[in-house]
C-alpha cells in the first residue's frame, strides 16, 4: 500500500468520521437548534464526499440547495416554533429503544449485503468535465423529468403558501 493510498484513505476516514459525528449530533442533540447546526455540518461532510467522488457539480448543488436553502428553512422553522422544546424535556419518544434495535439490525443487514454483492465496477476514469454532458443529458434524455419537476416545484410553492399562510 503506497503513501498516496494511505493518505487518500486517511482523508476518507477523516471526512467520514466528521460526517457521521455531525449526523449523530443531529440526531442526539437535545436542543433542536444545535441539531440543525449539526445538520449543516453533515451536509458539508457529504459535499466533501461528493468532491472525493469527483462529482464537483453535485457538491456545489449540495452546498447551495441543502445548506443554502433547506438548512436555512429548517433553522427558520426552529426559530418560529422556539420555546417549545426546553432543555429539560426528553427529546426522544417512547419507542426509541425499539427503533435502535430495528435500525441496528437494519444496519447489520445492509452491511452484510454490501459486502456480498458483486457491485458493478468498471474502473473508468473521468476524463473531462462532467458538467456540459450533464447539462446536455438533462435537456435530452431527461427532459421529461426535468419539465415535470419544474411543474412540481411550482405546485409545491403554491401548496406551501396555502398551508402556511396566516
Amino acid at each position: 500500500m503506497d503513501v498516496s493510498t494511505i493518505i487518500a484513505q486517511l482523508l476518507f476516514f477523516l471526512v467520514a468520521a466528521l460526517t457521521l459525528t455531525a449526523a449523530f449530533l443531529t440526531v442526539l442533540a437535545r436542543n433542536v437548534f444545535h441539531a440543525a447546526l449539526a445538520l449543516v455540518g453533515t451536509f458539508f461532510g457529504v459535499a466533501a464526499i461528493y468532491l472525493m467522488l469527483e462529482a464537483e457539480f453535485l457538491a456545489i448543488v449540495q452546498i447551495l440547495i441543502y445548506i443554502g436553502a433547506i438548512a436555512v428553512l429548517i433553522l427558520f422553522a426552529v426559530m418560529l416554533t422556539r420555546g417549545l422544546m426546553q432543555h429539560d424535556q426528553i427529546s426522544f419518544n417512547h419507542q426509541w429503544a425499539w427503533v435502535a434495535l430495528v435500525v441496528g439490525t437494519l444496519f447489520l443487514g445492509m452491511f452484510i449485503l454490501i459486502l456480498q454483492v458483486p457491485w458493478l465496477q468498471s474502473g473508468a476514469a473521468v476524463t473531462a468535465d462532467t458538467v456540459p454532458s450533464l447539462g446536455q443529458q438533462l435537456m435530452t434524455t431527461y427532459l421529461l423529468p426535468f419539465e415535470v419537476v419544474s411543474v412540481l416545484l411550482l405546485a409545491t410553492l403554491v401548496g406551501a403558501f396555502i398551508i402556511a399562510r396566516e
Binding site: N93, Q95, W98, V99, V102, V103, T105, L106, G109
Partner: protein, 723 residues
C-alpha cells in the same frame, strides 16, 4: 313459440320492482296492483311455456329449449353467455312458482293491513307503513326465483340465488324496526326480527360460499357452466382424467359435487345449517310462505336437480356423493320431524315440517328417485304455501302464534279451517291428496330398491336404512301435524278472549287458500303409480345427458307400499288423536308428550344446536351466541389479554393480579352471567379491538411498523432464497 319469450318471465316482476321503487312507492294500492299485474302477466307467459313444453312431452327432455344470445362474461379462454334453458322439470317449476307466488301476492294485500283497536274502542284497519316496499321486495324475490328457474348456466343461477339471499334478509327483517306509530309489533318482535335476518343471511352465506367455490372449480375443471354443455360425458371424463387429485384418494367430481351440495344445505336448511329457518318465521307470514314454499328453499332443491348429472357422475366414478346427499336428506327429514313434535308456535311447527320435507326430497334425489323427488318439490310447494297462509290467517285473526292459546277455531274460521285440514292431510300423506302420491312414490322407490332389488342384485342395506328413516319421519309428520290440528282448530278454546276476537279472514285472504287447496287435492293425480303422466313428461326423455329414467309398472310392491304408507300416516294421526284429540287439552294443561321427560326437553330445545354453534334468539328479542362462537370469542379475549399484558410488560405485580381478577370476573360476567354479547362482536370484535389498538395515532409508530414490515419482507425473501 311462447318459449322465445322465456326471459320476459323474470323480467316482468323485476319491472314491477323497479316501478314500485321508482314511481309508485307512495301509493300502497297502486303498488300492490302493479306487483299483482306483473305476476299475472308472468304467470300467463309461463303457463304458455309450460303448456308448450307439455305438448312437446319427452321430446323436450332430449332437446331442451335453450338459447344464450347474450355474450356476457369472459373467463379464462371461454365466454359465459346469458340466456334461458327450459327442460321439462324447469317447465314444471314455471307452472308452480308463479301460481304459488300469485296466491301469496293476493293474500298479502290483505295480510299487510293491520287491525287494531284504538283507545276509544273503535277498530281500525291500516296499511303497514312499508306496504309498498313489501311488494317491491317480494316482486324482486319472485323475479329472482323465476330467473333462477330459467337461467341457462350456473353463474346466472348463482346471481339470482344471491339476490334472493339478500331479499330474504330484507324480508325476514321486515319488522326489525319500528316507526313511532306502528302498533302491530313490539320491541321483542323487533329484536327477534333483527337477529333472525342476520342469522338467515349469514348462515346461508356459508352455503353460498361453498357453492361459489364449487362453481369456480367446476368452471375450471369442466370448462363450461352452460347447462347445455356442462354435462357432456366427454368433458366429464376429461375432468376426471386431466387433473391431479385434490387430496389423496379423493377425486375432483366428488369434491365439486359436495361443495355445490353445501349451497343446498344452507339454502334448503338441511342439517346442520337448518338453524336459520325456524327463526326466519319472524318475517311477515306471506314471506314465510314465499321462502318456505315457492322460492328460496325450493331453489336449493332445484340446484341439486340441476347438478344431478354431476352427482351421478361423481357417485359412479369417484365417491359416495349421492349417498351423502341421501343420508343428509333422510337424516334431516327424521331429525326435523322430531323437533316439530315439541314446538308450540304454529309457524315453527310448519317450519320444521318444511325442513323435514326438504330432507325427503333430497333423500329421493340421493337414492336416484329423480322424478319422485321433483314431484314432491311441486306438490309440497302448494300444500306448504297453503298451510303457511292458513296459519297466517289464524295469526292475523287471533293475534298470537302460540297454539296453546288457540283451540276450536274451526267454528270461527270455517274456510281457513277446512283448507288447512286439506293441506295438513296432504302433508301427512293421506289418500288421495297430492302429498300422498308424491311421498308414496319416494317411499316406493326406496322400498323397491332397498328390499326388492332387481334380479342379480343383493339387498342394499343403505337403502333399507334410508327407507326406515323416511318411514319413521312420515309417522312423526302425521303425529305433529295431527297435534297441530287438534290444538288449533279442534277442541275447546283455551283463551276465551282471543277466541271471541277471532273472525274469518277477508276474501282476499281466503280465496288464495281455496285455490291452493284445489291444487293440493288434484295435483297428485298428475303422477299416480297407475298413470304416471308427470313421469312421462319429466323422466322419460332422460335428463341433461343422462339416459331416460325407468319407471316400474304398477305391481304388488307398489300396492303394498301404498297400504303401508297409508297405515303409517293413519297410525301417526291416530296417536295424535289419542294424545290431543280424545281428551282436548285444557287451558294451562301441559303438553301430554311432556311426560317423555328429558327427551321432551331435548326436543323443545331443538337439540341445543343454537346453543352449541348457532345464535339463539329469545322470545323477548334478545339473543345469545352459541357455545362455539363464545369459545372462540373467549379464546380471542385470552389472546388479546395475553398480548396486552406481555407487551406492556411494565405493570407492577399487584396491579397485574388485580387486573387478572377483574378480567376473570369480567369474563365470567360477560360470558356466563349475562352472555348477551352479540355474536359478531365477541369473535371478531376482540381481534378487531386488539388490532385497532396498534393504530395509536402516533405517526412514528406507524413508520416503525412499516420499517419492520419492510425488513421482515426482505428477510423473508432472504430466507426463501437461502433454502
Amino acid at each position: 313459440m311462447v318459449q322465445n319469450f322465456t326471459l320476459f318471465i323474470p323480467l316482468l316482476p323485476f319491472l314491477a320492482f323497479a316501478i314500485i321503487v321508482l314511481l309508485t312507492r307512495n301509493n300502497n294500492r297502486l303498488s300492490a296492483l302493479v306487483a299483482i299485474l306483473s305476476i299475472v302477466a308472468a304467470l300467463m307467459l309461463s303457463y304458455g311455456v309450460f303448456l308448450e313444453a307439455l305438448s312437446e312431452g319427452a321430446e323436450l327432455a332430449a332437446n331442451p329449449f335453450y338459447g344464450a344470445p347474450i355474450a356476457w362474461m369472459p373467463f379464462g379462454g371461454m365466454t359465459i353467455n346469458f340466456g334461458w334453458y327450459v327442460d321439462p322439470i324447469g317447465a314444471a317449476m314455471l307452472f308452480m312458482v308463479p301460481t304459488v307466488c300469485l296466491m301469496i301476492f293476493i293474500y298479502s294485500t290483505a295480510y299487510m293491513r293491520h287491525n287494531h283497536v284504538d283507545e276509544h274502542g273503535h277498530p281500525h284497519a291500516e296499511d303497514d307503513p312499508r306496504y309498498a316496499r313489501f311488494f317491491a321486495y317480494i316482486s324482486l324475490f319472485t323475479a329472482m326465483m323465476l330467473l333462477l328457474v330459467v337461467s341457462s348456466n350456473l353463474l346466472q343461477f348463482f346471481i339470482a340465488w344471491e339476490v334472493m339471499g339478500f331479499c330474504s334478509y330484507a324480508l325476514i327483517g321486515f319488522w326489525s324496526f319500528r316507526g313511532r306509530k306502528e302498533h302491530h309489533i313490539d320491541d321483542a318482535q323487533v329484536g327477534r326480527a333483527r337477529g333472525a335476518a342476520i342469522k338467515a343471511f349469514l348462515t346461508t352465506r356459508v352455503g353460498d360460499i361453498l357453492f361459489m367455490t364449487g362453481m369456480i372449480l367446476l368452471l375450471i375443471t369442466l370448462g363450461s357452466l352452460d347447462f347445455n354443455k356442462m354435462y357432456d360425458p366427454a368433458a366429464m371424463n376429461n375432468m376426471l382424467a386431466g387433473l391431479a387429485q385434490p387430496l389423496p384418494g379423493v377425486e375432483w367430481p366428488v369434491v365439486i359435487a359436495l361443495l355445490i351440495f353445501g349451497g343446498t344445505i344452507a339454502k334448503s336448511a338441511q342439517f346442520p345449517l337448518h338453524i336459520w329457518l325456524p327463526d326466519a318465521m319472524e318475517g311477515p307470514t306471506p314471506v314465510s310462505a314465499l321462502i318456505h314454499a315457492a322460492t328460496m328453499v325450493s331453489a336449493g332443491i332445484f340446484l341439486i336437480i340441476r347438478a344431478y348429472p354431476l352427482l351421478e357422475f361423481a357417485q359412479q366414478t369417484s365417491g359416495p356423493a349421492m349417498q351423502i346427499v341421501a343420508f343428509v336428506g333422510a337424516f334431516t327429514a327424521l331429525f326435523a320431524a322430531t323437533i316439530g313434535l315439541a314446538q308450540n308456535d304454529i309457524k315453527r311447527v310448519l317450519a320444521f315440517s318444511t325442513i323435514s320435507q326438504l330432507g325427503y326430497m333430497l333423500a329421493a334425489l340421493g337414492i336416484g328417485a329423480f322424478v319422485s323427488g321433483s314431484f314432491h318439490l311441486l306438490t309440497h310447494a302448494f300444500f306448504k304455501a297453503l298451510l303457511f297462509l292458513g296459519a297466517g290467517a289464524v295469526i292475523h285473526s287471533i293475534g298470537t302464534n302460540d297454539m296453546f292459546k288457540m283451540g276450536g277455531l274451526i267454528r270461527k274460521m270455517p274456510i281457513t279451517g277446512i283448507t288447512f285440514f286439506v293441506g295438513a292431510f296432504a302433508l301427512m300423506g293421506i289418500f288421495p291428496l297430492s302429498g300422498f302420491w308424491s311421498k308414496d312414490e319416494i317411499l316406493l322407490d326406496a322400498m323397491r330398491e332397498g328390499f326388492y332389488p332387481h334380479a342379480g342384485m343383493s339387498q342394499d342395506l343403505f337403502l333399507q336404512i334410508i327407507y326406515l328413516m323416511l318411514a319413521i319421519a312420515a309417522f312423526l309428520t302425521a303425529l305433529y301435524t295431527g297435534r297441530q290440528l287438534f290444538l288449533t282448530f279442534l277442541g275447546k278454546p283455551r283463551d276465551q278472549a282471543a277466541y271471541d276476537h277471532a273472525h274469518e279472514s277477508p276474501v282476499a285472504m281466503w280465496a288464495p287458500l281455496a285455490v291452493l287447496a284445489t291444487f293440493t287435492v288434484f295435483l297428485g293425480f298428475w303422477n299416480t303409480p297407475f298413470a304416471p303422466a308427470f313421469f312421462h313428461f319429466v323422466g322419460e326423455g332422460g335428463f341433461m345427458g343422462l339416459p331416460p329414467f325407468e319407471h316400474s309398472e304398477f305391481d304388488p310392491i307398489a300396492l303394498t307400499n301404498m297400504l303401508v304408507s297409508t297405515g303409517i300416516a293413519l297410525s301417526g294421526f291416530a296417536v295424535a288423536w289419542g294424545l290431543y284429540g280424545f281428551r282436548p287439552i285444557q287451558a294451562g294443561q301441559p303438553d301430554p308428550l311432556a311426560r317423555l321427560g328429558f327427551v321432551w326437553k331435548i326436543l323443545v330445545n331443538k337439540y341445543w344446536l343454537d346453543e352449541l354453534y348457532g345464535y339463539k334468539i329469545n322470545l323477548d328479542g334478545t339473543a345469545q351466541p352459541g357455545l362455539l362462537i363464545r369459545l372462540v370469542g373467549a379464546f380471542m379475549r385470552l389472546c388479546a389479554w395475553f398480548d396486552r399484558n406481555v407487551v406492556d410488560g411494565l405493570v407492577n405485580l399487584a396491579g397485574w393480579l388485580s387486573r387478572i381478577l377483574a378480567r376473570l370476573w369480567g369474563w365470567v360476567d360477560t360470558h356466563i352471567v349475562d352472555g348477551l354479547v352479540n355474536a359478531t362482536a365477541s369473535v371478531t370484535g376482540e381481534i378487531a379491538e386488539w388490532w385497532r389498538t396498534m393504530q395509536t395515532g402516533n405517526v412514528q409508530n406507524y413508520a416503525l411498523m412499516a420499517m419492520v414490515g419492510a425488513m421482515a419482507i426482505a428477510i423473508l425473501f432472504l430466507l426463501r432464497s437461502f433454502t
